[in-house]
């Protein structure tokens, strides 16, 4: 291949898009390109050692049989019985958490975006600061709040709410509440940035031509925030997929997520191959999430264009 490309060819008609080597050779002769490559080298080396190599060796590990050799056994294991259930639970809890974080984040962000700059700054601080506190501390905070004798249940009991105390810990409610609290800063920050960028006079313009509040919200505000909603939702989902701490501390047996399973396989069963396969599956799910993001975006575009055609 390289040989033919480098060989002096009797140039046919027009110079077609230069074949690989030749283009590369020409690119390398450009001083700016060489300089750029030189600059990129440290980063490339860093990524190769700390990112590509570990992932690659994880991949190899997940494909290695117990007595060496190639096998897909660990993957079939991951999609069977209890393991499959854990995968599905992970997806379900991630979806629930993303949805809740989106809704709460939307309400919070739109309220904050309407505040005066000083108050908005303070409100953002309140939203973001917990993010800098150890997730462990925050999770224990939630455990204190949500326990059977916690603040919430005591209040409910005092108000004689039927069914109180409600179990809010070591079940799915607990996991979703705790994880949502962890994810909230991301959704609020992302949505706030989008909402801040919306020209509020557009809403006034809609009002001037007769649109009521609900119509303005539905037809103007939400469509303008939509890209942010998609971004925040997918980011949140991806982050939840591999999240370990809160589900492990606030969930019960039924809320075991993939990250906990990996932990168990490595720490208790010394089963590195299976854990590797699960890790790779998580990685692929993340890619799938990102792909979904792109699909949603182009689908939205197509939908709008179709709307125009009618």
């Amino acid at each position: 291949m390289a040989g033919t490309a480098l060989a002096p060819t009797p140039a046919p008609a027009a110079p077609a898009p230069a074949p690989g080597k030749r283009g590369l050779g020409r690119a390398l002769s450009d001083r700016r390109t060489r300089f750029g490559l030189l600059n990129a080298t440290p980063v490339v080396v860093y990524l190769l050692i700390l990112f590509v190599y570990p992932i690659f060796s994880t991949l190899m590990l997940s494909l290695k049989g117990e007595e060496g050799g190639f096998t897909l056994q660990w993957y079939t294991d991951a999609f069977q019985g209890a393991n499959l259930e854990i995968l599905l639970t992970t997806l379900r809890i991630s979806a629930e958490t993303s949805l809740l974080a989106l809704v709460v984040g939307f309400v919070l962000a739109s309220a904050i975006s309407r505040l005066k700059p000083l108050w908005a700054g303070l409100a953002m601080l309140v939203v973001v600061v917990p993010h800098f506190i150890s997730a462990l501390v925050r999770t224990y905070g939630w455990i204190i709040l949500l326990g059977d004798n916690g603040v919430v249940n005591n209040a409910l009991t005092d108000m004689h709410v039927p069914g109180a105390p409600v179990q809010l810990l070591y079940n799915e409610i607990g996991v979703v509440i705790g994880t949502t609290a962890v994810m909230l800063p991301y959704t609020v920050l992302l949505l706030f940035a989008v909402m801040k960028g919306i020209d509020r006079r557009l809403l006034a313009a809609a009002a001037s031509m007769g649109a009521g509040r609900i119509t303005i919200f539905r037809r103007v505000y939400v469509p303008l925030v939509a890209p942010g909603l998609v971004n925040a939702g997918v980011l949140c989902f991806i982050l939840c997929l591999g999240y370990y701490l809160t589900p492990a501390l606030m969930g019960g047996e039924k809320q075991t997520m993939v990250a906990s399973l990996i932990d168990e396989q490595v720490m208790k069963q010394n089963q590195w191959n299976g854990a590797s396969a699960l890790g790779i599956i998580l990685l692929l799910l993340t890619f799938a999430g990102l792909l979904l993001l792109r699909l949603l975006k182009s689908a939205g575009e197509a939908l709008r264009n179709r709307g125009t055609a009618s």
Binding site: R201, L202, A204, A205, S208, M209, L224, T308
Partner: protein, 379 residues
């Protein structure tokens, strides 16, 4: 249902009393203060159907605040706004059924041109077929048919503003309000769009209230102009009246950059006022202000002055500068005699330019010379 030539009355428009009697819009003693500062002070006016009215004033004159109170974006402290016989003073903007064109276009970025224009019709529950017909017609009229499927950000500023105009008139509001719609465009485009706005307004018989600080724009577009200053209307008249018979020195100065010649009233008759200028000459003016002997200023627009042989006119002086501006020539003359300091500005047809340093006389038709008491300083 048989189709008629007349646009079917839309729910909001008919709610606004389009069918009712009376003027499309009347404003009574509108007043608005911001923290002790009076932004709009007792503004009243009536606007007839099909009229193009402009609020003209510099920034801070209260023109935009008045418009915002009519639109409903800002609530007046007192006074009332009546649209087609219905008092809308306390109503939210969306319940007034008016149209509004903003300086910043404010098209919906997530909708195409077509969807933007169709949006107000959808709000009114207009049928799909009817929407298609009317959006099509409106875009056609504005020369935007080819742009229907584009997004606002793919259009130039002028095109965006034309879309905004379409969006405001497609549902036939009884009054369309425009807040410096051409303010963000360059001069050439502005002239072009002025013509287009005027054409569309006349073609459709639209009632328009237009806000601008550009007197030329106001003169080109308007049937009547309300010249505003410090929250009040100085004068509300046709462009010609404002230009030829300004009621205050401010109007004379703002619209025509008038020359103000100090002097005193020498004689008053029923037909005219004779003003003895400080430079010595006597100028004949419209009978307007001042008792005999009172200090006054005679105001005359640069375009209403003419040259004559020295000593024949009310003033004699030497030509200081001559500047060609296309078909016009701007001339400044330094008056001789007295302690007069200010240069007199003239605009003459290009063919009649005097030479630099030439001694010339100045004359003017008495009908174009106004007299104001010398108490306040115009401009």
């Amino acid at each position: 249902m048989p189709e008629t030539d007349v646009m079917p009355e839309l729910s909001l428009a008919s709610a606004a009393g389009l069918t009712g009697s009376g003027k499309p819009l009347s404003v009574t003693r509108l007043r608005k203060t911001y923290g002790g500062v009076t932004a709009v002070d007792e503004v009243s006016m009536e606007i007839a159907a099909g009229e193009f009215v402009t609020f003209l004033g510099s920034s801070g004159s209260g023109k935009t605040t008045t418009l915002m109170m009519i639109a409903g974006f800002c609530e007046p402290d007192s006074g009332s706004v009546v649209v087609g016989g219905r008092d809308v003073t306390r109503l939210a903007p969306q319940k007034r059924g008016l149209g509004f064109v903003f300086q910043q276009y404010l098209l919906f970025p997530h909708m195409t041109v077509w969807e933007n224009v169709a949006f107000p019709l959808q709000l009114r529950g207009v049928s799909k077929a009817e929407q298609r017909r009317r959006v099509g017609e409106t875009l056609e009229m504005a020369g935007l048919s080819a742009m229907a499927r584009r997004r606002p950000r793919e259009l130039s500023g002028g095109q965006q503003q034309r879309v905004a105009l379409c969006r405001a008139l497609v549902y036939r509001p009884p009054v369309i309000l425009m807040d410096e719609p051409l303010g963000a465009l360059d001069k050439k485009l502005r002239d072009q769009l002025q013509n287009e706005i005027k054409r569309i307004q006349q073609e459709l018989g639209l009632t328009v209230i237009y806000v601008t600080h550009d007197q030329e724009e106001a003169l080109v577009l308007s049937d009547r102009i309300a010249v505003m200053r410090d929250g009040r209307i100085d004068q509300f008249d046709t462009p010609q009246e404002l230009f030829e018979r300004p009621r205050t020195p401010f109007v004379a100065d703002f619209l025509g950059a008038a020359n103000f010649l100090p002097g005193h009233v020498e004689q008053r008759t029923s037909g005219h006022t004779l003003v003895r200028l400080d430079t010595g000459g006597v100028v004949k003016a419209r009978p307007q202000a001042g008792t005999e002997g009172a200090r006054v200023r005679a105001a005359v627009q640069p375009g209403r002055l003419a040259l004559c042989p020295p000593d024949d006119g009310f003033c004699t002086g030497t030509v200081e500068t001559v500047t060609y501006v296309g078909t016009l020539v701007r001339v400044t003359v330094r008056p001789l005699g007295g302690a007069a300091t200010e240069l007199v500005r003239l605009e003459l047809p290009a063919g009649r330019a005097p030479d630099l340093g030439e001694r010339v006389g100045l004359t003017a038709d008495p009908a174009n010379v106004s007299v104001f008491p010398d108490t306040e300083h115009g401009g």
